[in-house]
Homo-oligomer: 120 residues x 2
């Protein structure tokens, strides 16, 4: 694997899917911007509040489907088994600068999570 | 671009987002399997019935966000402007064999489309 951006994206991915959120956040820039299904997430604290509950409360396990990258961009798709849904895949297209993720286009289907929330 | 799978994925993508569904389907294998948010789609006819209404009735325009591939796999992410949603991004991870897409893991957020359907 020769893509520097992909190395960072995968290190981040392995950390948070392994439920080590502190390690995962070391790969995120302080001024990260993330465009997620529900809207824009601005800054590392908001990013942690977005990812943390999913990683720590809902995620059972994750499995990489595909991962590619070049100097500054990485694109990964993975499936997750979660409490709300047996299969909840996601894709992330991240921009990496100086070893940190500065932008993430984060894509997943909100439907199973909204159905779960309504049932709670 | 040296990835044969990505060439096929992008040719298919350009065709259907250009609303040329007949051309788009020439890149799809007869026995294609597509795992989409609402479940599995089996065979080229079902695939066309899945993609056609979106391409021909809801899609305004599409813009590629990132695209990577190797010999047999391509991973693309793109945004679409649609009648239900100003921004409805999607990601596709396709497996290509003999110049045709035989498998597609198709990912998008169903929420804006379900809200649109409920409003109709």
């Amino acid at each position: 694997m020769t893509s520097p951006a992909l190395q960072i994206a995968l290190a981040h991915h392995r950390a948070w899917t392994g439920k080590d959120l502190d390690l995962a956040m070391t790969y995120i820039a302080d001024d990260v911007v993330c465009d997620a299904p529900a809207g824009r997430i601005d800054g590392i604290q908001a990013y942690r509040e977005f990812l943390g509950p999913f990683a720590q409360q809902l995620l059972i396990r994750a499995e990489l489907i595909a991962a590619f990258g070049d100097e500054s961009t990485a694109l990964i798709m993975y499936d997750t088994e979660t409490i709300p849904a047996k299969s909840a895949p996601a894709a992330e297209c991240v921009t990496v600068r100086d070893g940190k993720i500065v932008y993430n286009r984060f894509l997943f289907d909100r439907t199973p999570f909204e159905e779960f929330r309504r049932r709670q």
